[in-house]
Assembly symmetry: D2
Homo-oligomer: 424 residues x 4
């Protein structure tokens, strides 16, 4: 963890400017009849999960260029995640990926407590062949034509649930790469039948207070068809399973040009929006930092979420899911968590009564201007003040760099050589 | 209609070559253990509807360049459609669009009988402001924020059903342009609520033996959001309505790169595939001639349809829906009907038992080769022979040109000036 | 024009708040070592052209829903454009479209002077068949296979130059719809040869101090291929023509996912960036209001422009080019001009020395944060103050609505009925 | 290599059917005034290169599922490539990738002679960090901000040329992953300057009879911008370098919906089409088997190539470049080489004089029908007969399976465990 003196020192440097900016924004919002402290308190109580695998450097099929101090195991990862939360006060939980993060659950619970984190949704993995597996997932997992392979995948998911129960998780997220690379390779209907059969068996093992989240994705790793290719199929799955089954939306898993905020609205309306994997993308599932490519789209998603927030039954899970290929993963996770907060704060600023009025009158120009009024407000002082008050850093990136954390763990963790050669 | 002597004369020119090609193909298929006459009989009994509006020259928002002999009304259109069917023997029915095709139903029935056609699905129109309407559809129809406008749109659809009952139609197809051009212009959830409420009122007026087909489309005329934007929303509508409600798939209404044949498979699997609008596209809803851009994709759609053919409850409606901007519409409709037949014939050639075997074994290469074996077979002799035997033309385009039909109607129908100026 | 008393009255209502916001922003920028008055003066001297056709309600191939008070001719249009500039002080020039705007040039000059506007680039039109033309553009204009049709199109463009010379224009913008709807319809190489031959003849007629702007577009109205389909072909044209020929970039004319700001950078780097048509889009050439869908993309384009601003030879033309289908066109043009100013002001705020430093060190996170720091600053007070000081309206939309201009012209200009029926 | 007895035996099984099919096709083509033996001789003399890396199982960033008998080194790879050519007689050359394929050049030449292959273009690799490199390519190679890193990349490319000269290669293909993942990370103009400077140094080292091929790609591994992102930038590079520099087109490296055959036509027209990487794709750079997704698009590319074939200066290089994730790579390469031949043969069947006539008359329907007439002809008998006569297999896949080659090498080459874990 970061020495709190360093955080305090860094905060001291920023505090005067921050207070000036915060006060000015407060006065500005006051002129718009918005209470800044109300927004700040919403931000303070907002948290987003980080994925355990997000603290390692990501890569592509062409190459991976590791940084220094790459985490060696889940305990190193929890240390890194702890830093992200310590400085941002925005990421109180971690989502584990099995089998990557398998460890004694007592040790996990102890470590989590030590670094101030809890455990979010469990993630199963049936898109890789882990050592020791009897059956390969080369041709699919839950929808494989081979019953034994399906059974292996089902059991793995049930294991994930059992593992999660020991660490306080309340959800299982299933993403599979099942699909096909050639027209005709798979029979679409039979393949989906098999998927549904397998999913039902997992659902049957789900504790009462758990949620099953299934995730759709248009393509990759399969390049002709994917079993759960879009929200339509995802919805069918959730409908077939039951009330505890909901859909997870990853912002990068859609066809080009698709209106994602509308998919969010539809799933919300029909009670099937279970959670998010936040990231950003320009081309495909680029897994770039949230809000780095199209921050307005992120805002429009949060606009849908804020609209539903008064509904007590509406409580989708929020997680970052990114691949950090050219940045320090800790920095990207911090910046991304703050971008999510920013979009949330901006969406909170939208004057909804006014918006609804313009919508009812078909005053398109003023309706969109009302939304934009929220978006273009610079809410950074709110976010920074919330961090400051919670004991985090006003400027987390600067404090992190000042702390020397990366250099420290680089001394402790061995150098990883460039990997990924030849998977082209 | 075309003088049958001309058809006969033209057929005489082609017959020897056709018989040689047909016999050679028959022998070739025999070596593949396929009975050519079985395929031919399937083609002979296959029919696809043409849209009444398809026989006029289409255009874009930039311009329309009419041809000569443009049909003046539904009776001219039925003449043209009659020619398409006479020569191809593939398009026995016509789909009407209201109010464009409003006419005394007795006259319509008489005319249809005269030209050898029947009436397919009715199409309502609430995406334009027709003269005399009390309320504008500028801001939507079935989902308009104004109740009176919604009511007007509902009643129009019910009128279409009543109209259709008098001419033997058994289905109503609803496509609306409702959506928005700006983020915030419309509230996604409320707008869809209104759509569903309106649709339920139409559904309530549907005769027992009718089908309600709703059509999704990603965008255009609305450019930020569309109420029925994809098959996921379309499915929700069909589910909310009831058993008589099904989804219509237009091949050009999807996001870039989307696997359309898979959507067909999903709707098929869940009993909600109601019909098709066939066309082709490269960019958006280009409404190009069916099979002109990606004939293999068309084949893959038919591969799904042939697979389900044995199910007696599976009977989706087939229609061409194209915009003929640079060709003689009659020629394009004939060519397109034949392309649909071609895809169907090729899909019939697929050895399904062999295919399923390869699928079960995950032999991707041989599975896809098995599909391709059907696709790459030149089935033209089968199509031509089916036409010949049914009294159509072996080469419909050549016979049509020979007949001078276009010149004849150009003399009877007044010249239409270039239209469309200024809608940019 | 709007009564200046109304503007003053409205400004009075806003001024106190505006001054408070402006002062607060000034102090904030001061803390970032930025002089707010410098930014304001850049904004004050910035102007963007509006297209004459932009003040009429647009539409799609499905329908057009005119508003009230639609301009009847170029003089009405200039009145409307005058209002846009009067209130925003951001749109000092108008771009004419021939033959739509043909009128005695003396009258045009007088009217322009009266409403305080000048004339920007001329736009030729060979994508429609205007009455009285000997040859149709159905199958293309500058690249038509018929020499006489090409000659007609060439002469029309030369006429546009001559027309423009009489009204002070200094540029001709050519956009053609030439292309094809079917594979094989056109020979790509021969068609482009013909285009280049025609363009050279127009270029030969270009006055020394004029610029020839050619505009690329991926598709529409042609749906299989377009002669000038992308910036690569556009670049070839500009290279083949000569120094006075440059490329025009319309933000909505690209393939999905394309990095437009990079195209801007490339054309800039090689001296071939001639101008812009600003708008926004989600799907295709949607012609939505600038910045309404992806404001960050607009900012990134301006980031490229600001970078080159110090180069005296760099002076691309800026124009709005939008289709206003659901809003009052005057309002959309005002809002869009302000969005362009906003992006420009935000790009001016970027600390370029710092940015270059991060770029050189491959500090991706801080580099992108530096850009975003500019983007997320709410520069509205700067824009409003610049307007106020120049005699415009602090809140142009409110002042316009208050003025009753639309109601006034609705009384003077006849009602236009819903058009566009049947071009589907 | 495969025992020729097995090939002969397999051919014996097929020969009677093949001759019947070939004769029937010959008669059919005769009725179309086409000499089948002319087409066959063109096919017989056509060859396409295979990439050395294509015989290993590919993967994605998520996982790689190796097959059995994976080649251990370039000599194993040459064995596998030899089999591909032996059975198809269509792939007489291999393209090496450095440093993956580094080996004593005498040994390479000897091995190539033994397996009946020659060497095609050399491929450099500066998108991965190979062991022992002084500088990392994490932030780019030829365009890196660091001069020493650029120099290292330049020298590597020059090494590749020198290596290639010893094995009879005549071309260097450069593909780099340089780009950025965040707006602002890289300065587009400076980055491209650096790229051009580096490329010029490589070009300066190019022997007189060599060609420099540069390859563009829209995205991946960089996900916000790529230095050589499209054919426009690629063209600028080739123009800046000189006559020996040409553009390489990979069919999967384009934006969605882009008309690739038109890019081929443009580069051809301006003398800058240097070569192809053939494959197919549905979403991004999927690297699927050539012709497996959109065979008509492949045909349209070959339509452009056949058109230019009579020009003696037109001689672009042809190579397959695919990732075989779920098939036996040898099978996929054989099938793909045959798909390329198929498209070529079909394009040769197009009656060009007739086509040009329809194009000149703007008879779009008959022009496209003329193209399709070539495409829909089943040319398999021509391809199979060409193979048979050249000593290859009538049915290469069947002969290969019969031969037991995979089982044999699986016994000799050690099992490779599932790789790729964790690069997500």
């Amino acid at each position: 963890m970061i020495n709190t003196d360093i955080i305090a020192e860094e905060n001291d440097k920023n505090e005067a400017n921050l207070r000036a900016n915060y006060d000015a924004l407060g006065e500005h919002l006051d002129r718009r009849n918005i209470d800044i402290s109300h927004i700040k308190s919403k931000i303070s109580s907002y948290g987003i999960a980080v994925p355990s695998w997000g603290v390692g450097t990501g890569g592509t099929r062409f190459a991976r260029f590791p940084g220094t101090g790459e985490p060696r195991d889940i305990f190193d990862k929890l240390d890194d995640c702890g830093v992200v939360h310590q400085l941002t006060q925005a990421t109180p939980s971690v989502s584990l990926h099995i089998p990557w993060d398998v460890a004694p659950t007592d040790d996990l619970n102890a470590k989590a407590q030590q670094v101030g984190l809890s455990f979010d949704a469990m993630n199963s993995n049936t898109f890789q062949d882990h050592s020791g597996l009897a059956h390969s997932y080369k041709f699919g997992s839950l929808s494989n034509t081979d019953a034994a392979t399906r059974q292996q995948a089902i059991e793995h998911n049930i294991d994930c649930i059992e593992f999660g129960q020991k660490i306080g998780s309340k959800a299982l997220t299933i993403w599979v790469g099942d699909g096909s690379n050639f027209p005709g390779q798979s029979n679409f209907s039979k393949q989906f039948e098999r998927y549904l059969d397998s999913a039902k068996q997992i659902y049957a093992a789900l504790p009462e207070d758990w949620t099953l989240l299934t995730e759709h994705k248009m393509y990759e790793p399969a390049f002709y068809s994917t079993v759960v290719q879009d929200w339509g199929t995802n919805l069918l799955i959730a409908q077939q399973m039951g009330d505890k089954a909901k859909c997870l939306v990853d912002l990068g898993h859609h066809a080009p040009n698709v209106n994602i905020e509308m998919i969010v609205a539809r799933l919300k309306q029909f009670g099937k929006l279970g959670g998010f994997h936040f990231n950003d993308s320009k081309y495909g599932d680029d897994d770039l930092d949230t809000g780095s490519i199209d921050p307005y789209r992120l805002f429009l998603v949060f606009n849908e979420l804020v609209e539903a927030e008064s509904d007590p039954d509406f409580n989708p899970m929020h997680m970052l899911d990114q691949s950090h290929n050219v940045t320090d993963p800790i920095e990207s996770l911090m910046a991304s968590a703050m971008e999510v907060q920013r979009a949330y704060a901006q969406a909170l600023l939208v004057d909804r009564a006014t918006l609804y009025g313009f919508q009812d009158e078909n005053d398109a120009l003023m309706a969109t201007t009302t939304l934009k009024h929220g978006f273009r407000t610079d809410v950074e002082p709110i976010l920074a003040m919330a961090r400051l008050e919670a004991g985090g850093a006003a400027d987390p990136i600067a404090a992190y760099r000042k702390s020397g954390y990366r250099q420290k763990v680089s001394g402790e963790r061995p150098v990883v050589s460039g990997a990924g050669g030849g998977i082209v």
